[in-house]
Structure formats: C-alpha cells, structure tokens
C-alpha cells in the first residue's frame, strides 16, 4: 500500500499539485487519470521520489520516503519498478542486457540464473526471441513490453506505469493493460498507472483518481465513473463519440 498525504508540488511560481491525498492499494490496479498537463507524471515522479514534494509526504507501507536518507531510499527503490512514458530503455544495451541490468546490479546470481529470470520476464510479456535486438530495433509496443519486463525483473512490490499504452493500437493497448492487471494480482503488487485512455479505465480501473487543476477531484472505480454527476469528470469521460454512445 502506498499513501500520498497532502502532497503539494510547484515548479517556481506554477503550482502543479495542490494538497493531494491518495491511497493506493495492494493487489489492485490504481489509476490516475486526467487531461494532458494535469500533473499525472509529476504526481508519479513525486511518489517515486524523483521529485521532492514541497509539502506532504509519501509512505510506502508506513515508511515515509520523504524523510529518508539516500541509503534507506535505495532499499525501497529495489522494491519498486517503473515503466516510463517513453520506455527509457538503455539504448546501448540489447533487450536481454536491459532486462538483466537490475539483476546484475543488485543480485549475486550467475549468468545462467539471470538469463533464466530474464527469459521468464520476457515470456511473461509475450516476447520471444528478441534477446539480441537493440531498443532502436523494437516497435513501440515491444519497447513498452520490454520496459515492463525490466520493471518486474526484481519482483517489485510496487509497480509504477506512466501511460503504458499511449501511442499503441487498441489491441496491443489492451494486451498491455491485461498484462499489468494480471501481474498485479498474481504477485500482489501495488500498481499505479497513469492514463488518459478510457478503454483502460473501464477495463482495469479498480481504483481511479481523477486529477483536475492540480487537485484530486474525484475518486471511485470503473462502474462508479460512468454514473457520476461530477461535471469536470463527465467532460473528461464522455469526451469521445464512443464513450458518449456508451451513455
């Protein structure tokens, strides 16, 4: 379980997050939704400690990372995996080396043991025979999947995904959603996903938080989101022809 307690974050004069409090539960896919520019990525980077918050705190199972030393933070970081909006694969490494990287850095496994784990993770994201490809040789969907494989290679307790399916075709997007949701339940991970894709919301939204103008505007799950009378949220949810028809 991860808790954000009264988080505020600004860059210079502009306030991006204003007093956001949220609880992300274990074994569930927790979604953060909101328009482009509403601060989803900033919130996620505050949660993982890439940005320091101006006010408030972030707690990982009651461990407050805002107050931690570098060493203590590292311990938590080894328990978390993150999928960046861009994938952020290391482009001088091939797929195998990318997924193996956390294992090489933080375990004493032999090459064979590591390779076994790498292939298990790649298998888990439905990738085969790609070990020797470089990131520049992968398609967008493959990049995201390799990035997921890398994020889960150390068996994380916490998984962060920043727009895991943006820029993908609807089918691949679905596959990735399913995948994240399965992994979450299977390994009892606390998963947090940023998205503005309504498909994902309706598919895997166990616990949804809607950000609007830097504030937490609404919270609920995938069935509640269709029945809400919150105007801003309705504008967001029923922005497309498809969702309008759903109504």
């Amino acid at each position: 379980m991860i808790q954000a307690v009264n988080i505020s974050k600004s860059f210079g004069e502009s306030e991006i997050l204003n007093d956001v409090s949220l609880t992300f539960e274990k074994g569930k896919t927790n979604l953060i939704i909101g328009e482009s520019g509403s601060g989803k990525t900033v919130l996620m980077k505050c949660l993982v400690g890439l940005y320091d918050v101006n006010k408030g705190s972030v707690e990982y199972d009651s461990r407050n990372i805002s107050k931690m030393s570098f060493k203590e933070k590292r311990k938590i970081r080894k328990e978390l995996g993150m999928l960046f909006q861009s994938g952020a694969l290391f482009d001088s490494f091939n797929v195998e080396e990318n997924v193996m990287f956390p294992l090489s850095m933080f375990t004493k496994k032999t090459y064979e043991e590591k390779l076994e784990r790498v292939n298990f993770c790649l298998n888990r994201v439905n990738l085969e025979n790609v070990n020797n490809l470089l990131p520049s040789e992968l398609s967008g969907g493959m990049t995201k999947r390799v990035a997921i494989a890398r994020a889960i290679s150390l068996n994380p307790k916490y998984l962060f995904c920043d727009e895991p399916n943006s820029g993908l075709d609807p089918k691949t997007a679905d596959v990735i959603d399913e995948l994240i949701s399965e992994i979450t339940q299977e390994f009892k991970i606390t998963t947090i996903i940023n998205t503005h894709d309504m498909n994902s919301v309706l598919n895997i939204g166990d616990n949804i938080a809607f950000l609007y103008k830097g504030k937490l505007w609404w919270q609920g799950n995938k069935t509640e989101i269709l029945k809400t009378d919150n105007n801003e949220l309705n504008d967001f949810v029923f922005a497309t022809e498809l969702t309008k028809r759903l109504k």
């Binding site: 890439l50 590292r74 970081r77 952020a88 694969l89 290391f90 090489s104 850095m105 933080f106």
Partner: protein
C-alpha cells in the same frame, strides 16, 4: 556561474563513490578504454606525425646563424612536442572528439529518462555513468600522449629526411641531448588533469541537459567549448606551478 560550479562540485561528490558492483564497473572501464582510447589512436597518430614534421621544419627554417648547431632542431622539436604540443594540442583535439561524444551520450540518456530510470532502480547515475569514463580517460590519455610524443618525434625525423634541411644524424643527436626526465612528468601531469577536465566537464554538461534533442546538441557544443577553455587556463596554471 556560481550555480554551475556548485552543481559541478555536487555532481563530482556523487561521482566519486565506491561503485555499486565491482564486476560491472570493470566491464564498463574496459569499454571506455576502447571507446575513449583505442578509438582515438588514429586521429592522435595522424595529428602527431604532421605536428612533429611542421615543428622540425619551422625550427630549421628559423636557424640561420652558422653559430647554432643544426642538432638544435632535434632538441627544439623534442622540447616543443613534449612540453606543449602533445599534451596540450592532443588534449584539445580529444576535448572535441571525446567531449562531444560524452556530452551527447549522457545528454540523450537524460532527455529520454534513462538517467531517471537508473535512479529509480536505486543506482547512483553519476557514479555509474561518469566514474568509468573519468577513470578510463585519466589512465588511457597519458598512454595516448606518450604514443603521440613518439610519433611526433618520428614525424620530425621524417621531415628532416625528406627535406634534407637537417641530417637525420644531427636531428637524433639533438633529440637525445640535454634531456630532463621532469619534462615527461610535466607532460603527463598536464595530461591527467586535462583528461579529468574533458570527461568531468562534458559529463556535467550532458548530465544537466534539459529539453529535447536540440538541447543535446547545445550541451555537446558547450562541453567542447568549456573543456577547451579550461584546458588552456589550466595549462597556464600548471605550467606556472611546475616549471617556474
């Protein structure tokens, strides 16, 4: 300016820590020896041989008094190459070649969030990315400079043979005369300092890149400009300290 110096210091403090994993560090170091050292051999050799030849010809041209023995050409060529041309000129060339490479590599990693990805994993990115490069350059550049000196002296000899302005025997007598080992130490000390400047300044420029691919280009240009200026500046400071 003050802010940059402060950030640079902090980055260096983060860089000079014990690597997370010895085996990974050694592997990276080997890669950097190749990327920064062996891959630079060609350009170092070409520049050195021409540099040596030009210095020898210019010196011979300037000696027109019959009182000065022609072996002075060998002596002067050696002194110029050891004291200044090899360590400083080659380091400036390397600042261009290696500096832009390091800044763009690390700058690209920054804007594509690869550095954040490292941090998230619990890796210290400065230490992981910069320490192998800085260490490798400080070890391999002196080797490059020694090679450059040897090739430069050979270039001077070649010029003597081809132009006939000085006999090779005179040249060699000059090369071997009045030798002080300290000049070599001086050259190597300069080289090591310059290697640190090139890699750490370029690393710094890349590390704090903000924005997109255009900004990577800017960082890479800045890396070359700033490391060159610092090399020139430290050349003066070190010379003043060591030779006067």
């Amino acid at each position: 300016m003050i802010k940059n110096i402060g950030r640079y210091m902090i980055l260096m403090l983060e860089t000079f820590r014990k690597p997370d994993k010895g085996s990974v560090f050694r592997k990276q170091l080997m890669r950097e020896f190749k990327d920064l050292g062996i891959d630079s051999l060609g350009i170092v050799a070409i520049i050195s041989v021409f540099m040596g030849a030009v210095v020898a010809i210019q010196t011979a041209y300037n000696i027109d008094s019959p009182l000065i023995p022609l072996s002075m050409v060998g002596f002067t060529t050696r002194q110029s190459i050891v004291l200044e041309f090899s360590p400083t000129i080659i380091s400036l060339i390397l600042a261009g070649k290696v500096g832009s490479r390091i800044a763009s590599e690390i700058g690209t990693m920054r804007i594509t969030e690869q550095i954040d990805a490292l941090r998230i994993m619990g890796v210290n990115p400065a230490n992981y990315l910069l320490l192998p490069k800085i260490t490798a350059a400080m070890i391999i550049n002196p080797v490059l400079i020694i090679i450059s000196i040897v090739i430069g002296l050979f270039g001077g000899w070649l010029a003597c043979v081809i132009t006939g302005m000085v006999t090779p025997t005179d040249y060699i007598v000059g090369l071997r005369g009045w030798f002080e080992a300290f000049t070599i130490y001086y050259a190597l000390i300069k080289t090591v300092v310059f290697a640190f400047i090139i890699t750490s300044v370029s690393g710094y420029m890349g590390y704090y890149t903000k924005g997109g691919s255009l900004d990577v280009g800017t960082s890479s240009t800045k890396a070359v400009v700033y490391s060159s200026i610092l090399i020139i500046l430290f050349n003066l400071i070190l010379t003043q300290m060591l030779l006067s």
